[in-house]
Symmetry: C2
Subunit: 100 residues, 2 copies
């Protein structure tokens, strides 16, 4: 069963290309997380927010990663994190054009 972790938080920048440069090394590290299928990086310059949508192949790794990433974001100075873990309904998702 697949699990989706959604995280977002206030973020004053950088955005777009500067965001890529700032976080490409972290992205390479995150790509090797146990249980991670993928992460989508989200950003909204107008609302000054950023976050991530993650797919994990098991709940334990989703929860372990959330704990680890929360501590990391706090160490970067981020606060007011909003995080939720959901089951994915794979049948309905396949109807709406994504295989998980």
């Amino acid at each position: 069963m697949k699990y989706l972790l959604q995280i977002d938080f206030p973020h004053n920048g950088p955005f777009k290309k500067d965001f890529e440069v700032a976080f490409s090394d972290l992205a390479k590290d995150i790509a090797n997380e146990d249980g991670l299928v993928w992460k989508i990086w989200t950003e909204n310059e107008e609302n000054k927010e950023a976050g991530g949508i993650y797919l994990f192949d098991n709940l334990d790794d989703a929860q372990r990663y959330l704990d680890k990433h929360t501590q990391r974001l706090n160490s970067f100075g981020y606060t007011d994190l909003r995080a939720k873990i959901f089951n994915v309904n794979e049948t309905l998702s396949s109807i709406t054009k994504i295989s998980l």
Copy 2:
């Protein structure tokens, strides 16, 4: 450029197979929305929440769909919707194993 819409809301059920049966016709309708690349259906029986993660290929359709879906969810009796639209950082996402 791709846009990610995340929506979640309190949901008392149905979940899993019953959720699929209840919403498969709606899923077929949503699959035909203009600009929609895909939707992931999310549910959390323990926390009594559900939602969706959507990828759109343009911002106008993401905003149009959010307005339409908000009215539909309200007509179903759902309240306290939480919705955010983000840009997707495609370069960082590709490092973390998803092509958008």
